[in-house]
Amino acid sequence: MTMLKTILAATTAGVLALSAVQAQAQEKLKIGIITTLSGPPAVLGGMLRDGFMLAVKQNGGKLGGRDVQFFVEDDELKPDVAVTKAKAMVERDKVDFVVGPIFSNILIAIMKPVTDSGTILISPNAGTSNFAGKDCNKNFFVTSYQNDQVHEVLGKYAQDSGIKKVFLMAPNYQAGKDSLNGFKSAYKGEIADEVYVPLGTLDYSAELAKIAAAKPDAVFVFLPGGMGVNFVKQFRQAGLADKVKFLSAFTVDESTLPAQQDAALGFFGGSNWAPNMDNPQNKAFVAAYEKEYGGKIPASYAFQAYDAALLIDSALKQTKGSTADKDALRAALMKADFKSLRGKFKFNTNHYPIQDFYLVKVAKRGDGKYETQIAQKVFTDFADAFAKDCKMQ
């Protein structure tokens, strides 16, 4: 009799638990997107949001079988504003995931408030070294890369292709310094000069004169946003494009190419992806993105956010839509069992991706639009250098 009672009790408990999970599965999935939507960098923040939302739209408005409710916040590139908004997302809105941000300093500011609350933070862009190493966090996942890796791609390419003398330039801020250090870690040739320009420099006449005087084989620059647009135009106008090879990171991409146009043709960048990447899911993504967003070609910010959505979807499929069991959710996320737009994708022990990196080249498409195209693979299964310092609990 007791045996029967036990079985009955167990079954009832099981059914109740299942229906609780089911009940939760019917509840809307709340996704908080925190990104920069004001000021000049708004174009990047917009791409992050648009890429993520496109994925959800294509999935019928659902992730993991659950309808998605979005909470989109503008961090205004102000860390203190971001902290308040992140806190609002996890406490007031009770989001299940926070996706974002674009910028490293915002990431550093919101890491504590988001992860302390047990909410999972997925960054589709910023990937600082501290969170890859000594400050790694079990609630933090990255679908982009560790910031330094992209710069190493160009360094390795320069080294392997026999370039003897390189002129380096980056803005005088943390990311700029990381960039040139990343390049130098892979490039062992001669450095003609290492120049840090004030952030927001508009006119590069002085630096262009220096480059011409130094007569390097190549330049490597990291000049995001408007800085890159200005430099590329002026570099070409100064006639240096024919004499000096142009290597760069985050300087010629789909967010700046519409302004750079012909001036950037043939210039090189480094990336974990390009719009012309030849796999079916990517081709579908690029076509859908262009159709949805006024003919604009997506940049990496968009595809990485799209992948973040796919990642969440895949994890939720494994937990049957439930976010209640955090350990199970994290394990499911770690599996990264989804078809990434970049081909293969897996997480390292520190939740940063291990992926291939490519040299990309700026080209003009048949329809007159500008995009980066894969030129050659530079790194296969490239893990970041900080994973060994990560002791995740």
Partner: protein, 327 residues
């Protein structure tokens, strides 16, 4: 009271009539809010904390702008200096308030003294520009401090301790501490304005030549006021670093200094209460608007223009006019 008398000295009358009810109401609301928000409302508390912190900085600014006639476009630099003092000490393990707070105050006061001595030699828009220049210099120096994160900023692992204990870790406790800070600064400013020092300062704003003729060393009084405003900014910075557990050069940009000026103006220049009301209106307003639409700046911009055109004396002036109109 005749109309002439009313129009002649609206501010004095406003002060006497409004008297204490406005600040009393303000602080009563601030004290009660945590209870209204209930439990688990850290984000709402953190929003109001930001209001209070910027209100403190705005009070310091109102002191020199509203009463001294010295429009400083560099107040945000003092916030940044106070924040960095706290942040850098915490980074090296000296996170106690007894060390961090005096350091924050001292650093901002020193910077104010050094730069004020140069700035106060100029007047009008030249003064505005040179305070901007020094603010920019502080910004660039902070951005180049690579060991402390540069422009990536610096995280504070924990809030400042008090004599070894960590009461500030509790959001409500920190909220009330900030509130106490705001109250303290408000009372300080009020006392300063009512004192002889304040009268000399206001006299110098009206007519510096006359004050000089009366034998007052205008430059000295203004410098002291400037240093006090700077130290108040430093206090705000110390609290901001604790509120967000983060310091960054972004706290000291010239745009932030501009925002502080807007806050003072929005509330009502030279009313002290206005600094608090303006800070609340600006921060809560932009927070609310940014929820409505991502193009909130297109609403906020014209709002500022309308305030300047039609609401002379800011929100306080507007309220007073409405009250008078209703009679």
């Amino acid at each position: 009271m005749t109309d002439a008398a009313l129009n002649a000295a609206p501010r004095r009358l406003l002060a006497r009539r409004a008297g204490l009810w406005r600040p009393l109401a303000l602080f009563a609301v601030l004290l009660v809010l945590p209870v209204v928000f209930g439990a688990q409302a850290d984000y709402a508390l953190s929003l109001i904390e930001r209001v209070m912190i910027f209100a403190i900085a705005a009070l310091g600014l109102d002191l020199i702008v509203g009463f001294g006639g010295l429009v400083s476009f560099g107040q945000a630099a003092f916030i940044g200096l106070g924040a960095y003092a706290a942040g850098i000490l915490a980074f090296h393990g000296f996170g106690d308030t007894l060390l961090a707070l005096p350091a924050a105050l001292a650093l901002s006061a020193l910077f104010a003294a050094a730069t004020g001595a140069i700035c106060l030699r100029t007047k009008g828009v030249y003064f505005i520009m040179i305070t901007l220049a020094f603010g920019q210099m502080a910004f660039f120096i902070a951005s180049s401090l690579a060991p402390y994160g540069g422009d990536d900023g610096l995280t504070l692992r924990a809030r400042s301790t008090i004599l070894g204990f960590a009461p500030l870790a509790d959001e409500r406790v920190f909220y009330y501490v900030t509130c106490a800070g705001l109250l303290g600064i408000y009372l300080l400013c009020r006392a300063l304005i009512g004192s002889r020092f304040g009268r000399v300062l206001r006299g110098a704003k009206e007519n510096p030549t006359r004050m000089a003729a009366l034998g007052y060393e205008v430059f000295r009084y203004q410098l002291v006021a400037y240093v006090i405003a700077g130290a108040i900014g430093g206090l705000a910075g110390f609290l901001l670093a604790n509120a967000t557990n983060f310091v960054s050069p972004a706290y000291m940009s010239w745009q932030r200094s501009g925002e502080l000026i807007v806050m003072v103006m929005l509330g009502g220049i030279g009313t002290l209460d206005g600094a608090i009301i303006g800070a609340a209106a600006y921060i809560l307003g932009s927070e609310y608007l940014s929820q409505l639409t991502e193009h909130w700046a297109m609403l906020f911009g014209p709002f500022l223009v309308l305030v300047v055109l039609f609401a002379r004396g800011g929100l306080i002036g507007l309220a007073a006019r409405l009250r008078r109109g209703a009679r």
